[in-house]
């Protein structure tokens, strides 16, 4: 009978047979595998993790429900100081309590001194504590089911808020306050509030797998895809992270020309010197930085100012001096100096889209500004560094045209390996009589800032490094410090329409420093300890801004420097002092600047063990968040029981930070299993055939 069956039927039968055997084997193996992996999951690894802050033994499926977040920002500007109150409302939509963790940016110079946790109608004020101590206090409170909030510094402009136990359907409110000095440049005050974080390339391997033309090896592909940034919202269904911003400017003098660079705003003049600004659209998506600029009405522009605040054991001062404008004769002398300009453009994956367009436009404009006396070169870097030319070239019309063509052909992809590009651009040398200027265009999406700072400090030589921040949320900390160490300036371009104007301003500055060798002394010649300790070279339109502490500021201060080849100085008399509300917060700014200067010494190879206690003392005395101190607020009474699951609060999407830990499993086991299975099937096929 069987033998008369057609080949096709037989084949079908055979296939079905093999399929069934395979299926049975697969099911059996899967059950074993599942049993194995479940038993591994249930076991307490070496029985040690209980009570440790690091432990989160929640089932991965439960991580999906993230608390919702709304942010309110109220900024009050008095004199040269802006005080910001930032309130984050966390709402847990789930039916279980969660622990919320939120990573967010703040301005790089922010001095954070207050944190409040509001639960219902109770408000708990945060205390400043040594970092490890604060972590312990937070972990202890969490374990006991009490509410707690912990604010830690990750980078000088990147912070983490952890909130233990946001109950089911509960709304918890965390408020922080900080101050910052306003930036004054080119006759305008500028206030920036960062709203998003560009992913930091090196902090995780995530970006490598997210880049299209990096070959994906089999190891990289898990079945939930390569590591992406799932802590970012998808932007569908309204803002992921809605933000509201209001700014009150109490300038003391009439101001005008209030402009928001990247958001629609409403401006209301309440009284003569008081202006209120708010976003036209309440609940903007927090996906690009907010920037507000304004100028002081004609005649009111400051030439020199001194703000002071009395502290416990000292008086703190904020000094601002505007150097004199360059005369036409100065400018003529300056433009006669030949230049060597090295343009560096970041073409890493994070620059994709508008950013690379802006950067290319800026480079092309820079090339156009070269004169035949100048020399130049252009480099691009992503995972590797490429140069337009091996050596610097004369800026002949032909060379410039070829360079422009080369720049136009650049595309963004790959990693952000910045060190080799910096090494090439900063060769440690410098030709006397030639201005060697390196213009570095990047979003600063790097996580190895400290290593790069050390590199810049070591190799700068006679060059000057000018950073140009590109994109909706460049890493301001990197840009500012790199320019400081590079003795240049930092220019921020947030929109392709700004390229022309901002680059023109930068080139005006590039001509040469207006003032060098700045020193600040008392009238009797004794030294004043200022922070930052060294005033950098000043370029066109930039003021001197330093903080200082003294027993009191009742003596005259002399600010001096070299302008061209001429000595220059100005006196600040006690009569110019403004204190009271105008100067509240100057003490915190002094402390923040002192911490930055101490951390800078660590960057430059200072002894951490010796400098750390100094940082700690300033931070604790002035109640500031620092690399070594955190703010922690702990409720008294327990409000939750059991272990809360951790939930990452989603940040708005412009290619976000946070990232994820690298994926470290291979499909080897799965492949082995499938391979065995297929071999098994092959055997079955052969045996069935024989039967």
């Amino acid at each position: 009978m069987q033998k008369r069956k057609s080949g096709v039927v037989d084949f079908l039968e055979l296939g079905a047979n093999a399929f069934v055997s395979g299926l049975v084997a697969a099911i059996a193996l899967s059950v074993i595998a599942l049993a194995l992996s479940t038993s591994a999951r249930a076991a307490t690894p070496n029985g040690q993790q209980t009570g440790s802050l690091l432990v989160r033994t929640a089932d991965s499926a439960d991580y999906n429900v993230a608390p919702k977040l709304e942010t309110e920002v109220a900024i009050r500007v008095t004199g040269m100081v802006a005080r910001t109150r930032l309130t984050q409302f966390f709402e847990n939509p789930a039916d279980d309590p969660v622990e919320g963790v939120y990573v967010f940016p703040l301005p790089e110079s922010a001095a954070i001194d207050h944190l409040w946790l509001r639960v219902g109608d109770r408000v708990i004020e945060g205390r400043i504590q040594e970092k490890e101590e604060a972590r312990r206090a937070y972990a202890e409170a969490k374990r006991q089911g009490r509410k707690a909030a912990l604010m830690e510094q990750q980078r000088p402009n990147l912070f983490t808020n952890a909130i233990a136990h946001i109950g089911a359907k509960e709304r918890v409110q965390v408020t922080i306050e900080y101050q910052q000095a306003l930036v004054y440049d080119g006759g305008r005050y500028r206030l920036r509030f960062p709203l998003a974080v560009t992913p930091r390339y090196v902090a995780s391997a995530a970006d490598v797998t997210a880049i299209p033309d990096v070959p994906k090896t089999d190891e990289a592909l898990g079945d939930d895809g390569p590591v992406v940034n799932p802590a970012y919202g998808d932007g569908c269904g309204g803002p992921t992270n809605a933000v509201d911003i209001a700014v009150v400017i109490d300038s003391g003098v009439p101001i005008d020309g209030v402009v928001s660079s990247y958001h629609d705003i409403q401006v209301e003049k309440e009284s003569g010197n008081r202006t209120v600004v708010y976003l036209t659209k309440a609940q903007e998506e927090a996906d690009h930085d907010f920037e507000l600029t304004w100028s002081v009405s004609a005649g009111g522009a400051p030439q020199a100012a001194l703000f002071t605040e009395k502290g416990k054991d000292a008086e703190y001062g904020l000094v601002m001096v505007m150097p004199p404008q360059a005369t036409p004769a100065d400018l003529k002398a300056i433009t006669a100096i030949p230049r060597e300009m090295i343009l560096v453009i970041d073409t890493s994956g994070s620059m994709t889209g508008d950013s690379i367009t802006q950067a290319k436009a800026a480079v092309i404009q820079a090339l156009d500004a070269l004169t035949p006396r100048d020399r130049f070169n252009v480099l691009e870097f992503n995972s590797v560094t490429r140069t337009f030319s091996k050596v610097t070239l004369d800026a002949s019309a032909d060379n410039v045209a070829r360079a422009k063509q080369w720049v136009a052909s650049l595309e963004a992809n790959g990693g952000t390996e910045m060190a080799p590009a910096l090494m090439f651009a900063l060769d440690g040398g410098g030709t006397p009589g030639v201005l060697r200027q390196v213009i570095f265009m990047t979003d600063g999406g790097v996580g190895n800032e400290e290593a790069l700072f050390r590199l810049i400090a070591a190799r700068l030589g006679g060059s000057r490094l000018f950073t140009v921040g590109i994109g909706s949320a460049p890493n301001g900390h990197f840009m500012t410090r790199a320019a400081e160490l590079g003795r240049g300036t930092y220019t921020y371009i947030g929109d392709v329409r700004e390229v022309g104007e901002k680059m023109t301003r930068l080139f005006a500055k590039l001509q040469a420093p207006v003032l060098q060798d700045v020193s600040i002394r008392w009238a009797d010649g004794s030294a004043v300890e200022t922070f930052p300790p060294l005033v950098p070279d000043l370029y066109l339109g930039e003021p001197i801004v330093v903080t200082a502490a003294a027993s009191d500021f009742s003596r005259t201060l002399i600010v001096s420097g070299t302008r061209g080849n001429q000595p220059w100085s100005v006196a600040l008399t006690p009569a110019m002092k403004s204190d009271g509300e105008d100067a509240s917060g100057v003490g915190a700014l002094w402390a923040r600047a002192k911490i930055a200067s101490l951390m800078d010494r660590i960057t430059r190879g200072g002894d951490t063990a010796a400098l750390r206690p100094a940082v700690l003392k300033v931070a604790l005395d002035h109640h500031l968040v620092s690399p070594y101190t955190s703010l922690v607020a702990v409720d008294v009474t327990p409000t939750a029981t059991g272990d809360a699951k951790i939930a990452l609060v989603k940040a708005s999407l412009p290619r976000g930070y946070v990232g994820a830990l690298p994926q470290t499993d291979t499909p080897a086991a799965l492949q082995l299993l499938l391979g065995m299975l297929a071999l098994g099937c092959a055997l079955v096929v052969l045996r069935v055939g024989r039967a």
């Binding site: 090196v202 995780s204 090896t217 898990g222 079945d223 750390r612 492949q671 391979g675």
Partner: protein, 191 residues
Amino acid sequence: MRQRLLWRLALAAALAAAGLSQIASAAWIHAKAILAQRLIASAWQDARHGASRRPWPWADMRPIARMQVRSRGIDLYVFDSASPRALAFGPGHVTGTALPASWGNSVIVAHRDTHFAFLRTLAANDEIEVESRDGGHAIYRVREVAIVHKEDTRVLDDADSAQLTLITCYPFDAIRPGTALRYTVVAARIA
């Protein structure tokens, strides 16, 4: 009849080929992991003498540290990159975290089924030795073991002490890749 036999043989051969290729691919993952570490050993000797050499000409990473757990017979070379490509060949240092054998939190990741399969055997007080490229030498003692979610990047945060964090995927025996959990071993420097 003859045709049936041919069909059968063809099917069996196809299945066997598919099976063998899968097994070969799995074996290749393990072979790479073992072979690469041998090649690095010689690059490491050069690195110790100042030359930062690539372990093989087309490698896009370099060894930056050697990690030993004598009690487990473990001797590994750590790359300067935690990219998936580097991880196929050896443990990788997460750039941006402190360098091995220096102040701060130094983070090293590797695959759970190759280089870091031994992590499951580590317990409190086990000692890990690390040698850095510039000849520095450090001994760490395991302080805690924890399982975290892959988004919980706080384990990458810098620490206010010299510590070593080893991370791999969890659970160790999972068949399917792509887990969301990570096994972390935190060790504090003792010498």
